[in-house]
């Protein structure tokens, strides 16, 4: 600072903005920080954060975690029965989205969906009997995330359901997701009427066998390449999957036709895929999960490896924090509602699909998807601004997934808990909105933000762990 020529001083100004004017007028150079209290005004967390800023060990751990994420190569290998392939899944276990929750506390859509899954499995004949089983603890409910699995909305995955198997060709880890049922009365929004169960049965038999046969005939489908193409075609692969679904369809159809299965089965399966623009979503989620699990478990890393909601709580997981969840109440999304519905009808934020944002897609890649911006209110310029904003809270860019509107910049990747708490810029999430009562379905969509409290709790935990180790 000293020994420079007179009248030269470069200042970062935090607080009273007019001090910068004085410095600039006196020949120095000052930049104002658009400051607000860090950590939403939690002074203790602000101090903890300060102790972690620019820490070489953390920065190195984050580079390691990010590199594992970037080098992950998700390949769609097959469709299998969940109970046969999902690690640690017992035969009487049902997986749900978001952080852990007790049966008596679950939200409406999750409650309806779990009951539906019990009936689908044949463990109970009707809803009352299913509810009794759950009440008596005879069926275990656990988070998908504890079993390398993700599911949109309620995320309900039971042992007899078919799941996508995505393998990370670089890291060797696998991830799983159920198959998308389409819109309307569907299990993931809590519907459990006979038509819903019948569809699930068809998916577990006809659809699963066609997909399994097609994938078996392929060498595995490189999902990252499909996502990269879809980003150039107007998808952000969370709330818009029209292009990616078409790309997947193209790769499946000839293999399916050669499978030797009945033509009618193949035709039904292809019609089902072609009729659901969200069909790719669950594949996208499993791919993101496989990439982020590769980055999980790097000691000291402050990189977020999951953001997920169960309709009661919003939770995040952090690479260097092991199996811990950092949770807070899930917000009700202030989005656009379908006619006759409003925020009063909405379930709090729900689903594992924020795994796409955690991986730098979805809301983080809004700039690639002008169509969805219109759907959830806003302009293409807003979309570009939002994607740029996310660059400020991430560790790096993913050059395998680029966005034309950002001059082909890679998607913002590796959310750093420290940067979220420091800047107050919260991760943006594109989301559908479920009715709070089981079975009514989607009532809107919107853009929401991950709540600060999760990140504040993570910072306090990271600081506690870190201050015990050499800085």
């Amino acid at each position: 600072m000293y020994g420079k020529p007179p009248q030269s001083l470069n200042v970062i100004n935090v607080g009273v903005g007019s001090f910068a004017d004085v410095i600039n007028s006196a020949g120095g150079q000052a930049v104002n920080v658009d400051w607000r209290p860090p950590a939403g005004g939690d002074a203790k967390a602000a101090r903890a954060l300060a102790g972690l800023v620019n820490d070489p060990a953390i920065d190195q751990a984050n580079r390691t975690a990010l590199e594992k994420f970037l080098s992950a190569k998700p390949v769609l290998e097959g469709v299998e029965r969940a109970g046969d392939v999902i690690p640690g899944m017992g035969e009487r276990t049902i997986l749900h989205s978001g952080p852990p929750v007790d049966w008596q506390d679950v939200c409406g859509p999750v409650s309806g969906a779990v009951i539906g899954a019990v009936m689908f499995e044949g463990w109970a004949r009707d809803r009352d009997a299913a509810a009794a089983l759950l009440r008596h603890g005879e069926v275990t409910i656990e988070p998908c995330h504890h079993h390398s699995t993700v599911g949109p909305m309620a995320g309900i995955t039971s042992p007899s359901m078919p799941v996508w198997v995505v393998s990370n060709a670089t890291g060797g880890n696998k991830a799983f997701a159920n198959l998308n049922e389409g819109l309307g009365k569907v299990l993931r929004f809590g519907a459990n009427s006979p038509e819903v169960i019948d569809r699930l049965q068809w998916m577990a038999t006809t659809l699963a066998s066609v997909l399994a046969a097609a994938l078996a005939a392929s060498d595995g489908i490189d999902i990252r390449t499909i996502m990269a193409q879809a980003l150039y075609m107007g998808d952000e692969v969370h709330n818009r999957n029209a292009a990616a679904t078409g790309l997947l369809f193209k790769q499946l159809v000839s293999h399916a036709l050669r499978s030797g299965l009945p033509v009618e089965d193949i035709a039904q399966a292809m019609e089902f895929i072609a009729g659901n623009d969200h069909f790719f979503l669950n594949v996208s989620m499993a791919a993101c999960k496989s990439m982020l699990d590769a980055a999980h478990g790097v000691p000291g890393s402050t990189m977020v490896t999951a953001m997920a909601r169960n309709g009661v709580e919003f939770g995040i997981r952090v690479s260097g924090c092991g199996d811990q969840w950092f949770t807070t109440s899930a917000p009700v999304v202030d989005g656009l509602y379908f006619p006759s519905y409003s925020m009063a009808d909405a379930a709090p934020d729900l689903g594992d699909s924020a795994i796409t944002e955690t991986a730098g897609l979805g809301g983080f890649a809004m700039a690639a998807s002008p169509a969805i911006v219109q759907f959830v209110g806003g302009t293409p310029a807003d979309a570009i601004a939002r994607s740029r904003e996310m660059q400020a809270i991430t560790i790096g860019r993913n050059n395998a997934l680029t966005i034309p509107a950002l001059d082909f910049a890679g998607t913002a990747s590796g959310i750093d808990v420290r940067k979220v708490v420091d800047t107050g810029i919260l991760p943006i999430i594109n989301t559908g909105i479920a009715h709070k009562e089981a079975g009514i379905g989607q009532i809107g969509a919107g853009i929401t933000r991950a709540p600060m409290a999760c990140f504040t709790k993570a910072i306090l935990s990271l600081f506690e762990t870190h201050s015990g180790s050499p800085a």
Partner: protein, 518 residues
């Protein structure tokens, strides 16, 4: 009277902006009290005390809270709407230059776009200031912390962290500094030169740097340490570092050290370091029982005025020990003329200061001439003024102290608190002399003497109603190059009929001579 509040979520404005907003709202028709704050627990407590709020739930520290008291519901509601409109129309704090799409939201983000940054200037609320400063040090920056209300344990931890990487931490509560000629915080436009200053007092730094400028020399660096640096716990960490920096600095020929009395062992350590620094050093530890005025390279100054004169002499290569300073420039007949305007019963002086170090120095000087004076923060505990809102006998107040400024702007920015007190003292039949400091320079009121002249005139009219004519003694701390201009401010005060002297020591001595001449 009706009150109402409004919470605006996740809007942050700094305290200075909010004080200006509060002042604007209070001026609206029908509004009796107005306050806009960030809704921290401490701030909400202030609103309780002010009666602006009865109970409040649901406001988070990151929310902005507006509270209005007015004569009727309509005025209150209109004021709340006005406040929201003003906040929404406020321009964004700043942009980071033409290439930046948006202002950086954190220090780290700012550094990404401005990698040549040297220093972080931190003036956010005190409870977050240490954390911001820690980040700055960890990012390799020097720091000036203007904020106060930082715990001393945090100051110690911060200065220890800075020592490890050889960073400089000025503050907390560092109001003023001049680095490479660039003014930081509240500072004056002084000529460049070869005198380096390290000061634990913001107004002390301003007074000495301005007097050096006035005496025709200039300043190389003026480093602030914060008011607690020289207590035993912090052990003079920043002053010792500043001394080292100036000892190594080729531009600096003479060093001045300024503080209220340090802890004895800290004073000894600093003097020892100064004795070995290889350059002449002027030490002005106000009120400490320093030894010989000069030994080796060290000169001891009793006042800020003397410190400036000694530094200038040393800078010119003149022996400073023999110089006599004028008491205040007024002769005995002029003092007699002033006294002759007073009526029976007018017998006490009332010092209404905006600068804390000025009030302290005045009390030291007055004690010698007229005995101990009363004050909310006196030199000796037995002279403590218990009711700070009512003066007794000879009284000196630091109106910039927390006791007076809670929930209000500092008197260097906003004169209303001091104007009210000037009026109150003028109406007191025992008041003979009202002593006022005016500090100009960057950060201060844009036309303080003009504003004060109006207050002096109305105070004089109020005193005339009881047939009294109090004497107003003032001085202006500043330079001709300051935005407010020293001479223009002095002229405005003279036109208002105030006696204008050159500095604080002169003002205190003149007040003492008048009171003891009665």
């Amino acid at each position: 009277m009706p009150t109402a509040q409004r919470i605006l979520s996740d809007i942050y404005r700094d305290s200075v902006a909010l004080m200006r907003l509060s002042a604007d709202l209070a001026d609206l028709p029908g509004v009796t009290q107005a306050s806009a704050i960030m809704a921290t627990e401490a701030n909400i407590r202030l609103l309780f005390e002010a009666g602006l709020i009865e109970q409040m739930s649901g406001a988070a520290p990151s929310d902005l809270l507006i509270a209005i008291e007015g004569e009727d519901e309509g005025s209150v509601a209109a004021a709340l709407d006005r406040a929201e409109a003003l906040l929404n129309n406020a321009p964004p704090q700043a942009t980071g230059g033409p290439d930046e799409i948006r202002a950086p939201r954190s220090m780290e983000m700012a550094l990404d776009g401005f990698p040549d940054a040297d220093l972080a200037l931190i003036s956010c609320p005190g409870e977050y200031a240490a954390a911001e400063a820690t980040k700055a040090v960890r990012l390799g920056l020097d720091v000036m912390i203007f904020s106060d209300n930082v715990a001393i344990a945090e100051e110690l931890a911060l200065k220890q962290l800075a020592a490890k990487t050889d960073r400089l931490v000025m503050g907390p509560d560092c109001g003023s500094a001049i680095i490479n000629g660039v003014p930081l915080g509240f500072a004056n436009v002084v000529a460049p030169g070869d005198i380096g200053i390290v000061a634990a007092s913001g107004t002390g730094l301003q007074q000495v740097s301005c007097l050096i400028d006035h005496l025709g020399r200039g300043v190389s660096q003026a480093i602030g340490t914060g008011g607690r640096d020289l207590n035993a716990m912090i052990d003079g960490a920043t002053m010792l570092q500043g001394l080292n920096i100036l000892a190594d600095d080729e531009q600096t020929a003479v060093i001045v050290l300024i503080s209220k009395p340090p802890a004895a062992e800290v004073a000894a350590r600093i003097q020892a370091r100064a004795a070995g620094c290889g350059k002449p050093v002027v030490i002005s530890f106000l009120g400490s029982d320093a030894g010989a005025p000069q030994s080796g390279n060290i000169s001891i100054a009793k006042t800020l005025e003397q410190a400036a004169h000694m530094a200038v002499d040393l800078s010119k290569g003149v022996d400073p020990s023999g110089r006599m300073l004028p008491r205040h420039g007024l002769g005995a007949p002029e003092i007699r003329d002033l006294i002759s305007t007073l009526s029976d019963g007018q017998q006490y002086m009332r010092g209404l200061y905006s600068g804390g170090t000025f009030s302290y120095e005045a009390m030291l000087l007055l004690e010698k001439d007229i005995g101990a004076v009363n004050s909310p923060s006196p030199i000796k505990a037995k002279n403590k003024l218990n009711d700070i809102w009512s003066s007794t006998g000879n009284t000196v107040l630091d109106l910039g102290d927390d006791q007076f400024t809670r929930g209000r702007p500092h008197p260097m920015i906003d004169h209303r608190l001091r104007n009210d007190r000037i009026l109150q003292e003028a109406r007191d039949p025992e008041t003979a002399v009202i002593l006022l400091d005016v500090v100009i320079g960057h950060g201060s009121h844009p036309a303080p003497a003009e504003a004060m002249a109006a207050a002096i005139n109305s105070a004089r009219e109020a005193a005339n109603e009881i047939g009294h004519h109090p004497i107003f003694i003032t001085f202006v701390c500043g330079t001709k190059a300051d935005p407010q201009n020293l001479v223009r401010q002095q002229d405005a005060l003279r036109r208002a009929g105030a006696v204008v002297v050159e500095n604080n020591a002169q003002a205190a001595r003149l007040a003492g001579d008048i009171i003891s001449g009665l």
